[in-house]
Symmetry: C2
């Protein structure tokens, strides 16, 4: 079984377009399909707040509660905003579509660049957090954090290349275990405020004396870190066409459901963290501490830890549903190479999937799989997109003026203003700790989009896409066949050459080096004469080792003498077994490579099957 066969086995046979058609989903199925990114951010959002606060010492930790309340208020604003996006753009497409429709192209590209950054970070953050949950439960694994991250990334990439990225129903069970389990943990924690304390793993990271004073900047930093918990609330609006009819109603219901669950979880976790004085520890996540404190370090704890790892993998998976679709739209608009818009045999946008996997792998390796080192980069892209989408909607309402458009515009306006302020806050507070990467990446991506677009435009003019070209005319054709001997290979190639044109010349290159060759070559002359194929044999001499140079020179000579179309036919032996291929065709590979960019020459291989077992 060769490499292609193994690949085919992993990826599966080609699919018809309609076999790959997406199943239509209900609001409950919408949670696993479109909301996992948002829901699972409880695995790192509260932790991000607590880590920032811990820098100011234990005294600052109770601030987690008011900051979480502020984040939940922002969540509510976003949920109502995005319910309106669903109504306004039931065709889906999300932020990029909204911006394309309401703003000049540059804003659409800004949104696209922000989304590319966002999707990549979502994959990296989700996988890192999932592995963080795993290593909290099994500390022995923590030395293998990066390899585990990359294996999970490979599995998610493979599933998506197979086209299994959006089998929402299969994701329903772990999603429900996660939601119900975490709500149960919170309920237990609230009912039994003096929950059984278990010995905590790892080393506490809270300095006894604060390194920073509790001030506005600290609160802003903690708030902006916690906003990473809001990433993903836009995903439902992007996927409206996936829902069963009535789509808009179902999608809006899912958005509300998501907002409610996420809000309850965030508030609940904040209350418990506050009550139990949870502080960041090296080697154990905040969420793991909360669960362990609530239910004890028993089977329930391990079930929840593994479930969290699984749903975070699935959250990473939702980005794989998003970025390739976005890049295919960008490619369709000539902003990215057209390869991004091609579906492969499994009907997936393979280049987009590979690109996302590659970028996420680089990020995971760069931060060594540490979630908290990714948090400062995160949320900027998302909140830029939030702001743009809602500003676009404000414009949309002002132009279309449906019933109650003032009311709608105010909701989206408040959303845009809040997320805009949050974006600026992120930029200011996180610039030096990593956000500069995003600040560089977004303009670089926009530049890439713009330059690609400009190139395709120049290209279209060069190809004359807008005009009808002149009628094509035939020219006389001369076929050149490089040969190495009188054998079946040569016979086959000369026959093919004669089928193309009666004007055929065989060439043979003699490298003037050893006497041995010269002898073999006069032997070739004799055999050619005996064979008498009706085609002249031209012997070309060279002092260089390359056979390409003399053949090129010979072609130049023909060109100078006649205005002819030149076709070079290279006989290529094709043994049945792949592993024997490299025992042949050494000259041909070099020749084809050297001649293939000559615009005046058509180079073709003549495959001659070789019946050698």
């Amino acid at each position: 079984m060769g490499v292609p066969a193994v690949w085919r086995f992993l990826i599966g046979p080609p699919l018809r377009a309609r076999q790959a058609a997406k199943q239509q989903i209900t609001p409950i199925e919408g949670l696993p399909a479109l909301s996992l990114d948002a829901l699972t951010s409880v695995a790192y959002g509260p932790e991000a707040i607590i880590v920032v606060l811990a820098a100011a010492g234990i005294a600052a930790l109770p601030l987690v509660l008011p900051i979480s309340i502020a984040i939940v208020v922002l969540l509510a604003i976003l949920v109502f905003s995005y319910r309106q996006v669903i109504e306004a753009y039931p065709g889906g497409g999300g932020t990029y579509a909204v911006c394309r429709a309401n703003f000049p192209p540059g804003v659409g590209l800004l949104a696209a660049a922000a989304l590319v950054v966002d999707y990549t970070l979502t994959v990296a953050v989700s996988i890192a957090a999932g592995v963080g949950s795993l290593t909290s439960a099994f500390p022995g694994l923590s030395s293998a954090t990066v390899p585990i991250c990359l294996v999970i990334l490979a599995v998610v990439t493979g599933l998506n290349l197979r086209g299994l990225g959006d089998t929402a129903r299969a994701f329903l069970l772990p999603t429900m275990v996660f939601i119900v389990g975490l709500l149960a943990v919170i309920a237990i924690g609230l009912i039994h405020p003096l929950a059984p304390h278990v010995p905590r793993q790892g080393r506490p990271l809270v300095p006894t004396e604060g390194l920073e004073s509790v001030g506005v900047l600290l609160v802003l930093k903690a708030f902006s870190a916690g906003c990473s918990a809001l990433t993903g609330v836009e995903a439902i609006a992007n996927g409206v066409p996936l829902f069963k009819q009535p789509r808009v109603v179902r999608a809006k219901r899912t958005e509300l459901l998501l907002g409610g669950i996420l809000g309850v979880m965030l508030l609940g976790l904040a209350v418990l963290a506050n009550r139990w004085h949870i502080s960041p520890r090296f080697g154990e996540t905040v969420l793991s501490q909360v669960i362990a404190t609530a239910v004890g370090r028993n089977w329930a704890y391990y079930v929840m830890s593994l479930t969290i790892t699984v749903v975070l993998m699935l959250a990473a998976n939702t980005s794989f549903g998003g970025l390739p679709v976005l890049t295919s739209r960008l490619a369709g608009d000539n902003y990215l190479p057209h390869q991004f818009s091609l579906r492969d045999e499994r009907q997936v946008f393979a280049i987009g999937i590979w690109t996302l996997a590659g970028l996420a792998a680089v990020l995971l390796v760069a931060v060594r799989g540490q979630t908290l080192r990714l948090i400062p980069l995160y949320a900027i892209g998302v909140f830029t997109a939030f702001t743009l989408a809602q500003s676009g909607l404000v414009k949309h309402w002002r132009q279309t003026r449906p019933a109650r458009w003032h009311y709608r515009a105010v909701i989206n306006g408040v959303g845009a203003a809040t997320t805009g302020v949050a974006t600026v806050t992120f930029l200011v507070t996180k610039f030096t700790v990593g956000a500069w990467v995003v600040v560089l990446a977004v303009p670089a991506l926009i530049m890439l989009f713009v330059r690609t677009h400009a190139y395709y435009a120049r290209c279209g003019r060069a190809l004359g896409l807008d005009e009808i070209p002149a009628r094509p005319h035939a020219k006389p054709t001369m076929v050149v066949v490089p040969v190495t001997g009188v054998d079946r290979l040569t016979q086959h190639a000369i026959a093919e050459a004669l089928s193309i044109s009666p004007r055929v010349v065989a060439v043979h290159v003699v490298v003037e080096d050893t006497g041995q060759n010269a002898e073999r070559d006069s032997e070739l002359d004799r055999r050619w004469a005996r064979w008498n194929p009706g085609v002249p044999l031209k012997i070309l001499h060279t002092e260089y080792a390359s056979v390409v140079r003399p053949i090129s020179a010979f072609i130049d000579e023909i060109h100078d003498q006649h205005d002819e179309q030149i076709v070079v036919l290279i006989p290529v032996a094709l043994p049945r077994r792949l592993r024997y291929r490299f025992l042949h065709n050494h000259l041909e590979i070099a020749l084809a490579a050297a001649l293939k960019t000559r615009p005046d020459v058509i180079v073709a291989s003549v495959p001659v099957p070789l019946r050698v077992s």
Copy 2:
């Protein structure tokens, strides 16, 4: 400057065969050109003995002297043996040539396999020992041993790819500094027996109590380890044609010179090591200790250390002169893929060079650049080749019976017997500490040679190399041109197609997926009708994402209807700048790859230059 330009800059422009002709050398130049491998083995041979003895405690160390004497006696036998090889085979070619001439093919292959192993190990051992000398002088570098080894390997490989591998004159200076310097060190050591003791670096590796008792096995082990100092004495016999006339005389004189210098060095080092109680130390080589003790750790020490590193690099380089020539001979005899016998544009056997570099890199990484871990693998290959070459000569003398043939046969017979016994000793004493690698590698290589040979033989029959084939006949030809639009690309391709045959059909694949495409396709139909190129346009529909499948099916259809030769011409846009290439031709790459192994179809790209800056 693209990748090919950088490569061209590194490697240099193409060379004519006569530009690359080798300079002819004198005996003094023969030392750097052909004897460095042998001379530099003083850098690891004595150390290998001492390390083995040290396992039996300090008491065993004085055995270094008698063992070294035994090795020098063996050296004398080998030198006289190889002087006779030079006389018998003045055409060079070495062991493989001797075995091919005197033994059945199997023995020649055994010699070839042993030599491949030997050349690879010579490169690895020399580089590791050179870096050992460097890190002895500059202990701070020892943590970077493996990277330094690989950089040196890359430099040597690059020089050989450039064809500068055998510029013997450039090597003369370091070689002379090395020989004169080391002889001076030995003289100083012998004149001033109480040489200034310097503080020794590193940690002593001698156990106070012996781990092994002093017995026959220990002596045999030490002897066989020390025999690594004899590797390379055969190189002069391989390179006789390089010498100025009278070749045989000069080559024999060089062999004697080499034997004398190497013998003096080995004995001198053994005496000094014995007198100064030199013992193996972690982080400093034995040779470095001897030099430091003799001259002090001053400028002279550092000059010698760096010189040793340089000459060991050059010793590695001599293998690059040997293996590619050997593999090209094997390829010429159909025992290796024919690529090994092709010279590249710099007139070097590039595949052989790359193969040697790759194997040596694997070895260096596997042993982490530690010379002593390579020693057990070394010498077996060399001594197998020694034994075979001299046995071959005994047979040669018996068959040709020149004057004094009895005397000659006795010399070679004694040489063969001694080296044969040594080979068996190596196998027995070193099998478990690494020699098993060689014991596996040699039969594996022979298997590779035999199978390749058998394949080419079957191939020759399949190609009918011994018969005159039937006359080739033309068949009617149909040209298929896949198009994506009506533009200059298509116009160019259709014109080329019409030059090949009047029977041309353009095909366009419609992936039945989105409504957008269907619209664009009826637009294509209309534009085609307006253009009216005299060629029909056939629209092919598919439910799969691949365009290859429908085109393949269409070709099958044509085949079933007519017995025609089919040519597929794929228009390919060729922008002037390389970096724009990947923005085009996505469909074409897949199509060409899928169709190129269909024996009934000729696939060619039609390059259309695109004037886009």
